[in-house]
């Protein structure tokens, strides 16, 4: 290796430097992977009794749904934050959650809660995914067709559409029979207890299929995170990459939302923690760490929900409460920038 040309300044600089605690990212992946595996095992095995042939497949189904949602939400949030260059945004800003609520509301309003709940889950799932993907596609097409239109305008349009969807939903909910509304309300929270196994397999295929291009983009995403101008200067086709990433994000969110309900709430937490744990920024480590944190948050949260609170509260409350505390601790320790 090349010898250092100016040993003195280097020594001086290093002596005044704050000691940086660095745990190699690979070690974090091992630690978090073990924790995630332990939680999954605990979820499958704690209080396991009765007819195993009945209970175990059901638990496997639920844990499968959680892992799938963790992957979809973690990957889409990290990717979305990279292309928007903003660490506090999540894909929910594009209004897909609100669209999901509107679809449920319209279905219940038009067909009645009984019909909606008894209609084939595959039909409902397909309607939801198709509508959500079609909405994102129209939004991107409309905004990118003009050429000069910016990503910020796209986000703004997403917010406006979200407000519109929420407004329309709440109007319909007010006109609705109160007893129907109570049934409808149940659909607004993520739940892993009503996942259809067939849909789970289909969704798993789609999510896995999207994770391949996302992973292959990892180096380009690292460059993209330096900002548009620098990325273009380094030869990244900015528009093409951003469009591709946005499409991946919206399909991931659409599939995960249609499967279990709105669940993007923990994306922000998971990505913020993942960035904290990575001493050096690389998608090749941020992505797996975010996914593992997502699995830990969901499976751990569900475990607490079932074992401690006996299903008496919502999963989002458990995760956001714990996550908020973790985040505050990090903030007070000065590790959040």
């Amino acid at each position: 290796m090349r010898a250092k040309t100016d040993p003195l300044p280097t020594a001086v600089l290093q002596s005044t430097r704050k000691p940086v605690r660095t745990v190699p990212p690979r070690a974090w992946i091992v630690v978090l992977g073990t924790a995630a595996a332990a939680l999954v095992a605990a979820f499958l095995l704690v209080g396991l009794e009765g007819n195993l042939a009945y209970v175990l497949p059901r638990r496997l189904n639920r844990v499968g749904a959680m892992i799938l949602v963790a992957v979809a939400v973690a990957v889409s949030t990290v990717l979305f934050q990279t292309v928007t260059g903003n660490r506090i945004l999540t894909p929910s800003i594009m209004g897909l959650d609100a669209l999901y609520v509107l679809i449920q509301t319209v279905l219940v309003f038009a067909l009645g809660a009984r019909t909606v709940l008894t209609m084939p889950t595959t039909a409902r799932f397909s309607i939801e995914v198709v509508l959500m993907v079609a909405f994102s596609w129209l939004l991107y097409r409309w905004l990118f067709a003009g050429g000069g239109r910016s990503l910020h305008l796209l986000l703004l349009a997403g917010i406006v559409f979200g407000v519109f969807f929420r407004g329309a939903s709440s109007l319909l909910q007010r006109l609705m029979d109160p007893s129907e509304y109570i049934i409808l309300q149940d659909l607004f929270f993520a739940s892993f207890n009503r996942v259809d196994p067939t849909l789970l397999y289909v969704s798993a295929l789609v999510v896995a299929g999207l994770c391949v291009p996302a992973w292959r983009l990892r180096h380009r995403l690292d460059v993209l995170a330096l900002g548009r101008d620098t990325a273009v200067g380094l030869g990244v086709d900015h528009r093409r990459t951003v469009t591709l990433v946005l499409v991946i994000c919206s399909v991931l969110v659409a599939v995960s939302t249609a499967l279990v309900g709105p669940a993007t709430f923990f994306g922000l937490l998971v990505s913020a923690l993942a960035y904290q744990l990575c001493s050096r920024f690389r998608h090749a480590v941020v992505l797996p760490i975010a996914v593992l944190l997502g699995v830990i948050a969901l499976v751990g949260g569900q475990l607490v929900l079932e074992q401690v609170f006996a299903f008496d509260t919502a999963l989002s409350i458990v995760i956001e409460f714990t996550g908020g505390i973790v985040f505050l601790v990090l903030l007070l320790k000065g590790r959040v920038r």
């Binding site: 090349r2 250092k4 040309t5 100016d6 300044p9 280097t10 600089l13 430097r17 260059g85 903003n86 660490r87 050429g147 990892r218 180096h219 380009r220 690292d222 460059v223 995170a225 330096l226 900002g227 548009r228 101008d229 620098t230 273009v232 200067g233 380094l234 030869g235 990244v236 086709d237 960035y275 050096r280 920024f281 920038r337």
Partner: protein, 252 residues
């Protein structure tokens, strides 16, 4: 060498760069000067393919910037923008390493590491290589970004107002560095600059713009005259010969 043919940029009905045809010679410092709103930065952005052209073509070393694939062009053309804010936390060495992306697609080789160390060394950043970019001062950060462009190993480097936010010492160092890039490494450097005296002292060619057009181009001896400067800036500027450099005096 950069060849502009009828390069045009419009925003709505306003034409910001109006059919510019010019040739920027290879291997030298070319400074684009002119008053605010003359279209200097827009022209540079078009050469850097950051802004699409509405008409005309730009060729950099024979490559059409509008049609050449990004990765290919990025091995010939490096750019440095005014604002270099990072949202991600990177060490200086990691940042400089990104300069190798057009060559390695994100998988560094031994050769890439040599390029990175050489670039760090050239900008005197070896002692800062493991520091985080956001912990550096403005001048150091700008040097880190230049090291990245240097590691990119391109023949042509375009810089948009590199002296912005730099004090006198750092401005002088920056211009000396750009001179060294040309004299020692044979690069072609094109920059947008407001200070005509820095431009005069360090450039081989001055390109004067006004109202979206290049109205004068030539060596400092030709451009740094009261008549030409009046034409460009609408200001009476005395030009004094100080230690062999033409210095415009316009402060009082």
């Amino acid at each position: 060498m950069i060849t502009l043919e009828n390069a045009t940029k419009r925003y709505g009905t306003t034409t910001v760069v109006d059919g510019v045809s010019a040739t920027i010679p290879g291997g030298g410092v070319t400074s684009i000067i002119g008053p605010n709103g003359a279209g200097k930065s827009t022209l540079l952005s078009m050469m850097s393919r950051l802004l699409p052209l509405d008409a005309g073509t730009v060729h950099v070393d024979g490559l059409d910037v509008s049609t050449t694939p990004g990765r290919v062009l990025a091995r010939t053309l490096g750019i440095l923008r005014q604002e270099n804010q990072l949202t991600v936390r990177l060490t200086v060495r990691d940042l400089v390493g990104f300069g190798r992306f057009p060559h390695n697609g994100g998988r560094p080789t031994v050769l890439d590491r040599e390029h990175i160390e050489r670039a760090l060394d050239y900008l005197d950043l070896s002692g800062l290589a493991d520091r985080f970019v956001d912990e550096l001062s403005g001048g150091q950060r700008q040097r880190a970004f230049i090291a990245m462009v240097l590691a990119q190993d391109t023949d042509v480097i375009l810089l948009d107002e590199p002296l912005n936010n730099l004090d006198m010492k750092h401005s002088v160092e920056m211009m000396q560095l750009l001179r060294r890039l040309v004299d020692e490494l044979g690069k072609t450097v094109v920059l947008v600059i407001h200070d005509i005296n820095f431009a005069s002292c360090y450039s081989d060619t001055l390109m004067a713009m006004r109202d979206g057009a290049v109205i004068h181009q030539g060596p400092p001896e030709e451009i740094m005259t009261p008549a030409v400067l009046r034409d460009v800036y609408d200001v009476d500027i005395q030009v004094e010969l100080i230690r062999g450099h033409r210095i415009g005096v316009y402060f009082a």
